[in-house]
C-alpha cells in the first residue's frame, strides 16, 4: 500500500476556555489520524471534551494548543472565510437535535449548504432530491420539520450533510434523541454510507453503537485514553494481529 496523507491529523491538540479569568481545559494533548473511508466512534463521559474536539475538527473552533491538519493543511493558517467555505464543501454536520430550519421544508433544508457553495437554484434542488432519495426521504421532500418524526428529521439532516459530497461527516450523538429501534436504523444508514467510502466520525454514549464502528476513540477529562480497532460485527477484512 502506498502511504497516503491522512484525511485529518491531530497533533497535541488542546483547547482551553477562559471565562472571567478561570481557565477550563476541555481537551488536552490529543493526537490521532483519521484516514479516508474510516468510520470512527468517539466515546467518553459527559464533559470529557467530545463536542469540543468535534467542533475543532469541523472548523467551527480552533485549538489553543497543537495543530489540526486537513489533507495536510494546518487549519489555523486558513482565513475565517476560507474555513467557512471548507465547511460548506468538505464537512457535513449531523447534530443530536437535528438542527433543521423550522421555517423551511425538507428539500430547502437539504439544499442549504449548496447556497454557500455558490450553486444555482435549479441544480440545488436537483441534488437535494438525489440526497433525499439516498436517505429514503424523497417522498417527504415538501414536509416541514414539525411534520416529521425525530428519525425522519435526522434522515433529512443526514441528506443535508451529504449533499456537497463532503470529505467527512461529523455526527454528534446522532441517535441520542431517538429510541433504540430508530437509532439502529440511523446507524445502519451511516454504515451503508461508510460502505460507499464515506468517512464518518461519530460521537456516541452507546457502547453497542460503538462496537459497530471499526475504530473507537476514548476520551476522559479531555485526554485520549484509548484508540482501539476492533473486529467489526460484519467483518470486511481480517485485522492483522
Amino acid at each position: 500500500m502506498t502511504a497516503t496523507l491522512p484525511l485529518i491529523s491531530l497533533r497535541s491538540v488542546g483547547r482551553t476556555y477562559r471565562t472571567d479569568g478561570i481557565a477550563v481545559t476541555a481537551v488536552r494533548n490529543v493526537s490521532f489520524d483519521v484516514d479516508q473511508g474510516e468510520i470512527l466512534a468517539v466515546m467518553g463521559p459527559s464533559g470529557s471534551g467530545k463536542s469540543t474536539l468535534m467542533n475543532m475538527i469541523g472548523l467551527l473552533d480552533l485549538p489553543s494548543e497543537g495543530a489540526i491538519y486537513l489533507e495536510g493543511t494546518n487549519v489555523a493558517d486558513l482565513s475565517e472565510d476560507r474555513r467557512s467555505t471548507l465547511r460548506a464543501r468538505s464537512i457535513g454536520f449531523v447534530f443530536q437535535s437535528y438542527n433543521l430550519l423550522a421555517r423551511h421544508n425538507a428539500i430547502e433544508n437539504v439544499a442549504l449548504p449548496l447556497v454557500y457553495c455558490g450553486v444555482g437554484h435549479k441544480e440545488r434542488l436537483g441534488r437535494a432530491e438525489q440526497s433525499l432519495e439516498a436517505v429514503g426521504m424523497l417522498h417527504r421532500a415538501h414536509h416541514f420539520p414539525r411534520q416529521l418524526s425525530g428519525g425522519e428529521q435526522q434522515r433529512v439532516a443526514i441528506a443535508r450533510a451529504l449533499i456537497a459530497s463532503p470529505l467527512i461527516i461529523l455526527a454528534d450523538e446522532p441517535t441520542g434523541a431517538l429510541d433504540s429501534r430508530t437509532g439502529a436504523e440511523i446507524l445502519a444508514l451511516f454504515a451503508a454510507l461508510n460502505q460507499t467510502g464515506q468517512t464518518i466520525v461519530m460521537i456516541t454514549h452507546d457502547p453497542g453503537i460503538a462496537t459497530q464502528c471499526r475504530r473507537t476513540i476514548h476520551l476522559h477529562d479531555g485526554e485520549l485514553v484509548g484508540d482501539e480497532t476492533q473486529i467489526p460485527l460484519i467483518p470486511k477484512r481480517s485485522v492483522a494481529s
Binding site: 467551527l60 473552533d61 472565510d81 467557512s84 465547511r87 460548506a88 454536520f93 421555517r103
Partner: protein, 407 residues
C-alpha cells in the same frame, strides 16, 4: 451567497410574519408618503403662483382703494371706490414711465348662449387692460374706440368661457350671447393664460357701468374698482410707484400725515415673496416627515435586533453549514433593505394617491415629479442600510458554537 439569494431569503423570512413586517415598515411608509405628498402639494402651490405671476404680466403695478375716513372713523380698505377714470388718464399723461394703464370694475354673472349657461367674472375695462397684461387674442379683435365711448354691446371672452358656451368646432366671433338680459356680440376670444385667469368675460368699461351697474347708487359714474398700469422697464418700478403715489395723493387731496386712500402694489413681487414663504414651509414639512423616516428606521433596527436574537440558532446552523460572516451580514442587511424598499414603495403609492385626493377634494394643484419619488426611495434605501447595518453586523459576529447552543 449573492445579493439575489440574500433578497430571496429575506422575502421568505418576511412572508412568514406579514403583520409584523408590515408594522415594522409602517414608519417608513408614513415618512415616505408624507415626503411625497408635501413635495407634490408644495410643487403644485409653486406652479400655481408662477402661473399667476405670469398671468399678471411683467412690470405691472396695481392700484386698489385704501383706507377711507368718514367722520374721523377709518373704514375697511376698499370699502369705497376711490379711484376714477380721470386718475387713469392722469397717470397715463403725467408719468412718462407708464406705457399703458386701464381701470376695471368687476362682478360675477351668468353668461348665456343658446341654452348653455356659465357663471363667470364680468370685467368692465378698456383695451389698455390687455396691453398692460400682454394678453393676445386667439381670434377676433379688441374693443374699438367707438365701442368704448358709446357703451357698445360687445364682449371679449376668456378661453374657458368660450369653451363652455360654444361647441369645439363653432366660431364664437360674431355670435350673440346674453349677460343679465343684455345681448352682446362676441368680438374676440383671448389666448389661454392659465386656468384661474381664463374664466372671465370682458366688456367695455362704459358698457359695464351703463348696462350692468347702472342702477347701483353707491357708484360714482367716473369711479373704477382698480387700476393696472404697465411700467416700461424693470428698473423703473420703484420710481413709477412713488410717482403714482405722489400724483394720486395730490389728486385725491390727501392731507399730509393721513393715510392714502389707495394702495399701489407690485403683485409679481408680492407673489415672489409668497413663493419664498411656500418653499420655507415645504422644507419645514419635509424636515418633519424626515423625522418620521428616522423613527421608521429606528423601529426597523429594533425589530431586526429582536429578530437576530430570536434567530440565533438559525444563524448558528447557517454558519455550521458554511455561511461566511459576510453571508450572514448580507442576509440581514437584505431583510432591512427589503423592509425599507417595500415600505418606500407603499409610501410612494400612498403619497401619490393622497396628493391626488387632496388635489381633487380641495381643488389644489399638485405636481408629482419623478425626482421627489426617486429622492424618497433613495432616502428609504439609505435608512435600510444605516439602520440595518448594526443588527446585521451583530448577527455576523455571533460565535457559531454559542449560537448552536441556544434554544
Amino acid at each position: 451567497m449573492t445579493m439575489l439569494q440574500g433578497f430571496q431569503i429575506a422575502l421568505h423570512a418576511l412572508r412568514l410574519n406579514p403583520l409584523r413586517s408590515f408594522l415594522t415598515m409602517l414608519g417608513i411608509v408614513i415618512g415616505v408618503a408624507s415626503i411625497v405628498t408635501v413635495f407634490a402639494i408644495g410643487a403644485g402651490a409653486q406652479l400655481r403662483l408662477q402661473e399667476q405671476i405670469r398671468s399678471i404680466g411683467a412690470n405691472v403695478l396695481m392700484i386698489t382703494p385704501g383706507a377711507v375716513y368718514q367722520g374721523g372713523v377709518r373704514l375697511k380698505d376698499g370699502s369705497k371706490l376711490t379711484m376714477t377714470e380721470s386718475d387713469v388718464q392722469a397717470i397715463l399723461e403725467q408719468i412718462p414711465e407708464i406705457q399703458a394703464a386701464a381701470g376695471s370694475i368687476a362682478g360675477t354673472a351668468q353668461v348665456i348662449h343658446e341654452g348653455k349657461n356659465w357663471n363667470t367674472t364680468i370685467n368692465g375695462t378698456t383695451t389698455g387692460h390687455f396691453m398692460v397684461r400682454d394678453w393676445q387674442l386667439s381670434s377676433g379683435r379688441y374693443f374699438s374706440s367707438a365701442e368704448e365711448a358709446a357703451a357698445g354691446k360687445v364682449v371679449i371672452l376668456g378661453s374657458t368661457v368660450a369653451r363652455e358656451l360654444f361647441a369645439p368646432d363653432a366660431d364664437p366671433i360674431g355670435a350673440q350671447i346674453r349677460i343679465m338680459k343684455v345681448p352682446l356680440e362676441v368680438v374676440g376670444v383671448l389666448d389661454r393664460k392659465g386656468p384661474a385667469q381664463d374664466d372671465v368675460a370682458f366688456v367695455p368699461l362704459t358698457t359695464a357701468k351703463l348696462r350692468f351697474l347702472g342702477s347701483a347708487s353707491n357708484i360714482n359714474r367716473d369711479s373704477v374698482a382698480y387700476i393696472i398700469a404697465k411700467v416700461a422697464a424693470d428698473g423703473q418700478m420703484a420710481g413709477a410707484r412713488s410717482e403714482i403715489e405722489g400724483l394720486l395723493r395730490q389728486r385725491h387731496r390727501v392731507p399730509a400725515g393721513q393715510e392714502d386712500d389707495f394702495k399701489v402694489q407690485d403683485p409679481a413681487a408680492a407673489m415672489e415673496a409668497q413663493q419664498g414663504a411656500i418653499r420655507t414651509v415645504a422644507l419645514l414639512l419635509v424636515a418633519i416627515a424626515s423625522v418620521s423616516l428616522l423613527v421608521g428606521g429606528i423601529s426597523i433596527m429594533n425589530v431586526m435586533i429582536v429578530s437576530v436574537t430570536e434567530r440565533t440558532r438559525e444563524i448558528g446552523i447557517r454558519r455550521a453549514l458554511g455561511g461566511r460572516m459576510r453571508d450572514i451580514r448580507l442576509q440581514f442587511l437584505c431583510e432591512a433593505l427589503v423592509l425599507c424598499l417595500l415600505g418606500g414603495a407603499i409610501g410612494v403609492l400612498s403619497g401619490v394617491t393622497l396628493s391626488m385626493t387632496v388635489a381633487r377634494m380641495a381643488g389644489w394643484i399638485t405636481s408629482i415629479d419623478s425626482e421627489a419619488i426617486a429622492l424618497a426611495l433613495a432616502f428609504s434605501i439609505a435608512t435600510g442600510l444605516i439602520f440595518g447595518f448594526y443588527p446585521a453586523h451583530k448577527a455576523s459576529k455571533l460565535s457559531p458554537i454559542e449560537a448552536l447552543k441556544t434554544e
